[in-house]
């Protein structure tokens, strides 16, 4: 399939709201996806292998921490730019977008927001270039939707902290040079730590046998009496709001990213429907296929409008976590429905690895669960409406 002339759907002329710079950013990431990711991504998924070479390429492109200021190696761009970057990466693959999400929103963002100047100088430029890979440790074997009950902990030993515990479902963990780890101190306050590869007692075994996000690498973070130097604590944040702010940034990126996956499914389904003939005419001429295509395009358009609006709110620092929960939930569900409907349009061919739809679909089964599950995001909206928490 020739992707080089790909044009994204824009039924409501949203491009009118984007600057020429936004469009250049989108086109640049799209060109990279077409040139460097599309040709390798299906094989990487089949083999369940992370294409490591893309780390440096994404770094050179500036896909890591695009909103981090130039002086720390970022690009100093706005949040709509970040969203468009995520959208284009996920048109390639949700796993690859996840790599960029984690590096940007879950590693660079907390170091920039909660770190001191030494930590920013030490880590951010190398994370931006891809010289260092980062991971984020919040979820634990016994604590997913309820991270406040985490067991991972630190004990102040005077010269250092002693870290014990385990994290799981951690994107990038086996290849990570550093991990932002959230642990409770002796006063039961959640603190953020920068844990470095090679620290004694720290291991990061890979999680095998995934049926989703097979082109990104996932693992655990295991801490057995790891001595953490005191300068590795993030000094400017205490409490669960630290990791929640990181997730807020990542969820924002997901809300944009999944539009890319949906666009790829729609584009594939539309082209197939126009070419595939049954009963001597293209299947696109049948009402049931037109219904599917029309509903998909409507859903994508609604998601695009929400994404543009949350982008403008985020640029003004007015986007609330509840709004981001709503759009993450809505857009991921939209993308998953789009993948399923698109798969049906392709009939049996929909399950073939010759088309990207099934890959997107199984990837999105992770995306609908990670960074706050589909259900939890609904309850966040419910709480925002009623001010009554249903999960505490």
């Amino acid at each position: 399939m020739n992707y080089n002339n790909y044009k994204s759907v824009d039924y409501f002329n949203l491009d009118d709201f984007y600057s020429s710079e936004h469009k250049l950013i989108r086109q640049s990431i799209r060109d990279w996806v077409n040139r460097s990711l599309k040709p390798i991504i299906d094989e990487a998924n089949h083999k369940h292998e992370f294409p490591k070479q893309i780390i440096k390429q994404l770094g050179a492109l500036g896909a890591f921490g695009p909103y981090i200021p130039l002086k720390y190696g970022g690009a100093g761009l706005d949040y709509i730019s970040y969203g468009l970057i995520m959208q284009e990466l996920e048109r390639g693959d949700s796993g690859i977008r996840s790599v960029a999400s984690v590096q940007s929103s879950l590693v660079m963002y907390p170091i920039f927001e909660f770190g001191n100047e030494e930590q920013r100088q030490k880590y951010l430029p190398k994370l931006a270039s891809g010289e260092l890979v980062g991971a984020f440790g919040l979820t634990e074997p016994n604590h997913g939707s309820d991270p406040g009950a985490m067991e991972t902990n630190i004990v102040d030993k005077g010269d250092y902290y002693l870290l014990n515990g385990a994290k799981m479902w951690i994107t990038n963990s086996p290849i990570a040079d550093i991990a932002i780890v959230w642990a409770k101190d002796e006063q039961q306050i959640v603190r953020g730590l920068i844990v470095e590869k090679g620290m004694s007692g720290f291991s990061a075994p890979e999680t095998h046998n995934k049926w989703s996000l097979r082109a990104s690498i996932t693992g655990e973070l295991v801490f057995e009496n790891v001595k953490i130097p005191k300068e590795n604590i993030l000094p400017n944040i205490k409490g669960l709001k630290g990791p929640m702010k990181c997730l807020n940034s990542a969820r924002y990126g997901i809300a944009w990213g999944v539009i890319g996956a949906a666009m790829d499914c729609y584009d594939t389904a539309l082209n197939y429907a126009l070419e595939r003939k049954q009963f001597n005419k293209p299947i696109a001429s049948f009402q049931l296929q037109q219904k599917k295509l029309a509903e998909i395009l409507t859903d994508i358009t609604k998601a695009q409008l929400m994404a543009w609006r949350i982008g403008t709110l985020k640029n003004d620092n007015r986007a609330t976590p509840s709004q981001i929960s709503m759009i993450k939930r809505n857009n991921v569900q939209m993308a998953l429905n789009t993948a399923r409907e698109s798969r049906q349009i392709l009939g049996a061919m929909g399950i073939s690895g010759d088309y990207p739809i099934m890959r997107h679909m199984i990837n999105l089964e992770s995306v609908i669960t990670y960074e706050g599950t589909h259900d939890i995001h609904l309850l966040i909206t419910g709480f925002d409406i009623t001010k009554i928490s249903s999960f505490k």
């Binding site: 002339n5 044009k7 020429s20 710079e21 469009k23 250049l24 950013i25 640049s28 060109d31 990279w32 040139r35 050179a60 492109l61 500036g62 896909a63 695009p66 130039l70 970022g74 690009a75 100093g76 761009l77 730019s81 970057i85």
Partner: protein, 246 residues
Amino acid sequence: MKILVCISNVPDTTAKISFVEDNKVYNKNNVQFIISPYEELALTRALELKEAASGTITVLTVGLQDAEPTMRKALAMGADDAIRVNTEAKDAMFVAKQIAEVAKNKNYDIIFTGKESIDYNGSQVGEMVAELLDIPSITSVSGIDVEGTTGKIQREIDGGYEQIECEFPFVGSGQKGIAPEPRIPAMRGIMMARKKPLNIVEPVEFTDLTQVITHTLPEAKSACTMIEPDNVGELVRLLHEEAKAI
């Protein structure tokens, strides 16, 4: 090393083509514009040459303000500054005259154009600029290196390649092969392009030598009729009765 890369602002290759004003003027509405691909490749190679040695890259466009997004892309790719000659690009001689006027006192070592822009496909501007500046013109440049003040150039010729050398300054019209693929601007480059100078100069007067009378679209391709492999009789009938080819 001072390099000038002349880029034109052309419709994206997938753009729908239509004309207005009695078929005299191309309809730009809802068309995405890009750097003409051969010029984008030439710019990519110019950037590599600069990075391997040192120097400056200036990009030049003859066009109105609507050409600036593609010029910003050239700056984002790594060009140092840009010059826009503030007039609609008319015919090849008009454009060449404007480029030569800008370039004449600036001592560029190499001036790159594309072998043709992909909209009007004139394939003349580079040669005309060279003539107006009285410097060598090298066409169909499919590879270039620089040693000191000498260009080591590969030209594509019928059935093969020609290797030539040329002292600075010269005009080279780039084509496929001069760089493997166009450079993709990095996010930092896009951000930094905001602050790079994009200078606007007014055109010199020049009487048009040509006038567009009209444009005509090619006839729509007729639908392809598929015939089963074992139905040769039907193929012969269609070729005889409908296509009238036999």
